[in-house]
Every structure is written in structure tokens, then in C-alpha cells.
């Protein structure tokens, strides 16, 4: 296995090191051949049965690196919101990044960056996408286990609402009119935000067939102004198609 990083905060690969009870057992079953954050033993040009990619493609060298990694990986799994949707740094997409840099730096050629922050799937085929900012430890272990034994990961495509109901939470949207993206957001976090008395802010990105317009209409009915609607959908997973489109509708 190899763990590679593009533009990111390191939080998702840290989730692997955060599997405190499972890490040593995992290392007995899987040869971790390249994981710079954890080991000085590197194999940057090797071939891999499985590659975990954290981070978005944000600079030209990362695009090249990704193509090279894909060519050497039997299976490639993206971990986290950056790798699956472009991440929080996709908030810069559509803005004049080159203009920013030229206006600040006397020597803009020191800085190499792409205009947009894009997910891994925009550049190479991806075998499995693990959502979340950060990813959930239990889901990571499920994916690694499934790949080890050669079955499909058992991760349901359902909304945060389903997890929230199973937790027995009172609905923050229905009972308190608290804006909550739970109905349109992919499950996996364990309905954390509603469990902590706040609305979901969508850090696992949109679920399949997310009815974002219906939810936006509900927010509007409760008095949310367009500029705030845009901000709600343009958050940690701003680059994900359903959220991006819904944000644009209210601009």
C-alpha cells in the first residue's frame, strides 16, 4: 500500500495513524511501502496493490504526479473531501487566482498553482471514493478490510438524516428551524453536528440524487437571504457538483 498526498491538511492520512487500536495489526497484514508522513522508508516510484490519495489537484506538479501514481496502482482509493471534490480550497475556483498572486508578489514566478482545485477523478479513474472532511475512521477500516478480502465496501449511500434518526436526535431543522444540510449530505460522520446541537454543514459532500433545491426552498421560507444560501452550499465541499450548482442558482 502507498499513501500519497496532494493539496490537503494531512487530516485524512492522520486518520490512518488515528486507528490506534488497529494500526499495528493492519501493518502485519499490509505492507505499507510508501507513507511519508509516517515513515522515512519511501518507494515513490514503486508499484502498488492499493494507493490511498489524499488532497486535491491544485498545482501543475500534482497533476503529473497523479498520472504517474495511477499508472502504478492496481487500485486507487481517494480519501476525503479534497480528493473527492476539490476540498475547501475549491472555494478559490472561479476567482482570479493569477491576478491575486501578481498583485501581491514582486516575483510571481515563485508561485506555481492551477486556477482551480479539482478532485482526483477529474484527472484519472478512481476505484473507490471515501468521503468526509475528514474521513471517518470506521469507514476507512471498512474499506481497507473489504479490499483485503476482495469484497465491495459496505458503505451505504444515504443521508445524514438516516444516521441522525438512528441516533435518536431531535431534528434541528424541524424543531428549531436551524439550517441543516443533513437531508442532502452523504452519511458517514455519525450525524455529528446535530448531535452537537448545530446544523450539518455538508463536509461529507452531497449524497446521490440530493434534492438541494427543495432544501434551499425550505431555508428561503425560513428567511435565509441569497448571499447566505450561497455560502451554505459553498463550503467545505464547494466543488461537488450538486452543491456547486445549487450555490450558483442563488448568486
Amino acid at each position: 500500500m502507498g499513501v500519497f498526498k496532494l493539496a490537503s491538511c494531512d487530516g485524512c492520512q492522520l486518520t490512518l495513524l488515528g486507528c490506534e487500536d488497529e494500526l499495528l495489526a493492519l501493518a502485519e497484514r499490509v505492507e505499507i511501502a510508501h507513507f511519508p508522513e509516517a515513515s522515512s522508508r519511501l518507494d515513490p516510484h514503486g508499484t502498488f496493490d492499493l494507493v490511498l490519495v489524499e488532497g486535491s489537484v491544485s498545482a501543475p506538479f500534482q497533476r503529473d504526479e497523479l498520472l504517474s501514481i495511477r499508472a502504478r496502482a492496481k487500485k486507487l482509493v481517494t480519501i476525503g473531501a479534497c480528493a473527492t471534490s476539490g476540498g475547501v480550497q475549491a472555494l478559490r475556483n472561479g476567482r482570479d487566482v493569477k491576478g491575486f498572486i501578481a498583485s501581491v508578489y514582486a516575483t510571481p514566478e515563485y508561485i506555481s498553482t492551477l486556477d482551480d482545485s479539482t478532485p482526483v477523478s477529474a484527472h484519472v479513474p478512481v476505484d473507490y471514493e471515501l468521503r468526509g472532511c475528514p474521513i471517518d475512521k470506521r469507514q476507512l477500516i471498512e474499506v481497507l478490510t473489504a479490499l483485503l478480502v476482495g469484497r465491495r465496501p459496505n458503505i451505504r449511500d444515504e443521508s445524514v438524516c438516516m444516521e441522525c434518526k438512528r441516533q435518536g436526535n431531535m431534528c434541528v431543522l424541524v424543531t428549531r428551524d436551524e439550517p441543516c444540510l443533513g437531508p442532502v449530505t452523504h452519511a458517514g460522520c455519525g450525524a455529528l453536528c446535530p448531535s452537537f446541537d448545530r446544523g450539518c454543514y455538508g463536509c461529507f459532500g452531497p449524497k446521490e440524487q440530493a434534492k438541494t433545491s427543495a432544501l434551499a426552498a425550505r431555508f428561503q421560507r425560513d428567511g435565509m437571504v441569497p448571499v447566505e444560501l450561497v455560502r451554505r452550499f459553498r463550503g467545505i465541499t464547494a466543488g461537488a457538483e450538486a452543491f456547486k450548482k445549487e450555490g450558483e442558482r442563488h448568486e
Partner: protein, 433 residues
């Protein structure tokens, strides 16, 4: 003429992507650089136009290892801009969750990132083959820190409850009591950790540091300070820090470098905190420092592993004391009206001083954000220390010398992902070339 270059193209066991190069000619260092090639993510640019209440969620994403530091410095700065005052009960919860982050981050660094250098392994996983109890202890301590963060904030990376004014929800006493025994064991096991760290063979190096840490309270600095103390120079209110230090854009780095206004590099982090505040350590940690004959001024950067271990004990002991006297706050957060203003906030991230400044518009949206992370501040100092180390590498075999240099940089627990996002993007049309 003899010339040797020691370099590593991708540094390992650090957070983020960097390389270093050190060239020594005829016994003199002619070039030393720590280059940060981590791709910039432009946080300060896209914070503009966001609501006050978005900031804590967004800045957490600067760093997966120390998100709480970002949330806390941001909340402080925004509260000062809005004229909001939290309650002592809320501040206790802040210290508690921040202790969790110190524990998680320090345990990660001491055991997983730094210890393999001293014992001669490439990773903690490899080290576990010969030193399983040691690595298991590290994982246990880290887990207890993460557990503490989870109880208060839901998850270790990017916790969801911290917000401007406090927390969306404060933990129940029962939830904290459920992890009390772990914290008590953490005190004991971290003491053992410090005793072990003190026995490690330390490479020789003595640096003449200027230390910077927050100050202004009777406590060892963590989640709050009114001033920033700079050894040999004086103290300045947090609001003035932007005038005391200057930031430069250097060719080899995607992060700006900070120095004092006269160009002097300075150091923040565990050694700086210990220098300014050793007498304020929790009594259990202070006693430990005495037992280990750990002075206030530790001038050998390799020895920071001992300082970090003592701070681990401090964080566990503080957390335990807070849990024992904890009463759930009646109010988890305070609220106030939005208004235009400027606010500053500084807290002590595990790896050092983290300073934020925000300008808010009348409706509470962010007009300008400035974030100065610890690694940007330490970067110039790290390069100066590479220069100091250079001559001693000449007599060493090449690989060992390179490892020694990388170990030096690792001693500062650099967080390269953080430092990069500090790229300041300010639109000033007059400056367009």
C-alpha cells in the same frame, strides 16, 4: 576546496511537503534552506466575504493535526472584533479541548515522528517490531487525547462544536467522567514517557535562541494570553504582534518567513513556552521537570522531545483537574450583535504561537484575514540552526549526516501544511507591476 551538500527531496515524518538542502564548503556553510513546496491553498483569500460563523469551520481545515488551535485563535480574534466576552466556564471547556489537542499532537510527534530518529528506525511501525510496548504506549496516549477531543467536539480532526462565543454544545459531566481514568493513567504514563525521553542519546548542538510565547496570565500559556513575550526584547500586546515581526517572501518557499523587525529569527513552541513559563507548569509537570533537571532554557533543539513529553504531562494533569471540578456551563456560548471592527487572537498551538487578525464589515462578514502559523515563524530559525549544525556534519558519513540534519528539522515539529496556507493574498491594485 572541498564542498559537500546534504539534502533530502521529500522530508518524512513531518506534516506536509518540504525539502531541505545544506551546502558546506571548506568547513563553512554557504547555503542552508528549508524549502516548502506544498501547494498553496489560499485560505486568507477565500475567507474574505464569509460570515463570522463560517470562520471556525473553515480555518480548522488549515491543519488536520492542530485544527483546534486554528479554531481557538480565530474565535478569540472574532470575539475581540465583536466585543464579545465569554464566561470562565466556557474558557474551561476551551482549555480542556485544547489539552486534548496538545496530547494528541505531542504523542504523535514524540512517539511516531521523533522517537524513530533516536532509536534508529524508519518509522514507529518498524520500531514496534523491537519496541512494541513503547509504540503501544504512544498509541494509547494519542488515543486518550483524541478521545478527550471527541467527547467535547465530536471528532479529533475538525471538531464540530467550537464556535465564536464558545461551543455549540458543552459536554456533560458524565461524559467527561467516563474518560477520567484514562486521563489519570495518561498523567502516569506521560511521566514515564518523559523519564524515557530524558535517557535518549542527544546529539550535541547549542543554539542562541530568541524565544517567543504568549503571556499575560498566571497560567502556563495555552488557550489565552494578552501579550507576546520575546526573550531579551520585552513584551507586546497581542494586537501589536503584526508590527513586531515582519514577513518575507523567499524564493525557495511557498510560505512566508517571519523574523523580528531587525531580521532576527525567533523560535516559538515547547522550548519557548518552557523558557518563559517553566514556573507556571502544572505542579505535577513542574516536579517532573525538576526530577529530570530540565532547565527553563533548553538550547539543544534535539532535546525538545523531553520538553514535549513534560508538556504532555502538563496537558494530562490540567485536563484531569478541569474534569474533576467541572460543572456543565449553563450557557455553552455567548452571542452578540454583528458590527464592524478589527480583532486579534493568539493561542499556543502544539508547535507554537498562532496569531490571527480579522477585519469585519458591519454585517459581520470577513473583510480581511491574516493568519501567522508557528511554522512560518520558526522557518527562519530552523535555517539558522542548519547553518549552526553544518560544520559538525563534515566529519560524518554522508547518510548519517543527512539523517542528522533531517532530525534537526523534525525536532521543531514543523507543520508544513499550515505554513503554506499563510500565503497572504491581498488585492492592492497600486502594486500591480
Amino acid at each position: 576546496m572541498s564542498e559537500r551538500t546534504f539534502s533530502v527531496d521529500l522530508m518524512t515524518r513531518v506534516e506536509g511537503e518540504g525539502r531541505f538542502s545544506l551546502t558546506v564548503r571548506d568547513g563553512k556553510v554557504i547555503d542552508a534552506s528549508l524549502a516548502i513546496f506544498e501547494a498553496p491553498r489560499f485560505f486568507e483569500a477565500f475567507l474574505q466575504g464569509r460570515s463570522t460563523h463560517d470562520v471556525c469551520d473553515i480555518v480548522a481545515r488549515i491543519c488536520g493535526i492542530c485544527p483546534i488551535a486554528y479554531q481557538m485563535s480565530a474565535a478569540r480574534a472574532l470575539e475581540s472584533a465583536l466585543g464579545l466576552r465569554t464566561t470562565p466556564e466556557i474558557e474551561q471547556v476551551r482549555r480542556l479541548i485544547y489539552c486534548g489537542e496538545w496530547i494528541e499532537s505531542h504523542a504523535l510527534h514524540v512517539f511516531m515522528l521523533h522517537a524513530p530518529d533516536f532509536l534508529g528506525y524508519e518509522s514507529a511501525i518498524e520500531m514496534a517490531r523491537d519496541h512494541k510496548p513503547l509504540v503501544e504506549r504512544g498509541l494509547r496516549l494519542k488515543k486518550w487525547g483524541n478521545r478527550l477531543i471527541e467527547v467535547i467536539g465530536g471528532r479529533p480532526s475538525h471538531p464540530v462544536s467550537p464556535r465564536v462565543g464558545g461551543f455549540s454544545r458543552a459536554p456533560s459531566k458524565a461524559a467527561l467522567l467516563a474518560i477520567r481514568d484514562d486521563l489519570a493513567r495518561g498523567v502516569e504514563e506521560s511521566i514515564e514517557t518523559a523519564r524515557w525521553a530524558a535517557t535518549l542519546p542527544m546529539p550535541d548542538l547549542s543554539c542562541d535562541y530568541v524565544f517567543a510565547a504568549i503571556t499575560g496570565t498566571s497560567d502556563y500559556p495555552l488557550e489565552f494570553g494578552t501579550h507576546i513575550a520575546v526573550s531579551g526584547r520585552g513584551e507586546w500586546p497581542v494586537e501589536q504582534w503584526g508590527d513586531v515581526m515582519v514577513e518575507r517572501h523567499v524564493r525557495h518557499s511557498n510560505a512566508l518567513q517571519a523574523t523580528l523587525a531587525d531580521g532576527t529569527p525567533y523560535l516559538c513552541g515547547p522550548q519557548a513556552r518552557l523558557h518563559h513559563h517553566r514556573d507556571k507548569l502544572n505542579p505535577v509537570a513542574r516536579q517532573l521537570a525538576d526530577e529530570l533537571s530540565l532547565p527553563a532554557t533548553v538550547d539543544n533543539p534535539y532535546r525538545s522531545i523531553v520538553v514535549r513529553a513534560v508538556e504532555l504531562t502538563h496537558a494530562f494533569a490540567e485536563a484531569l483537574a478541569i474534569v474533576d471540578r467541572y460543572e456543565r456551563p449553563e450557557q455553552a456560548y455567548v452571542e452578540g450583535a454583528m458590527r464592524a471592527g478589527v480583532g486579534y487572537g493568539a493561542t499556543e498551538a502544539p508547535r507554537g504561537l498562532l496569531w490571527h487578525r480579522y477585519e469585519l464589515s458591519a454585517d459581520g462578514t470577513v473583510a480581511k484575514a491574516t493568519i501567522v502559523p508557528p511554522t512560518s515563524q520558526n522557518q527562519a530559525r530552523i535555517e539558522a540552526d542548519l547553518v549552526a549544525l553544518g560544520p559538525s556534519l563534515i566529519a560524518m558519513e554522508h547518510k548519517a549526516a543527512t539523517v542528522r540534519a533531517e532530525q534537526l528539522i523534525r525536532s521543531y515539529d514543523p507543520c508544513i501544511s499550515c505554513a503554506t496556507h499563510f500565503l497572504e493574498l491581498e488585492i492592492n491594485r497600486e502594486d500591480v507591476p
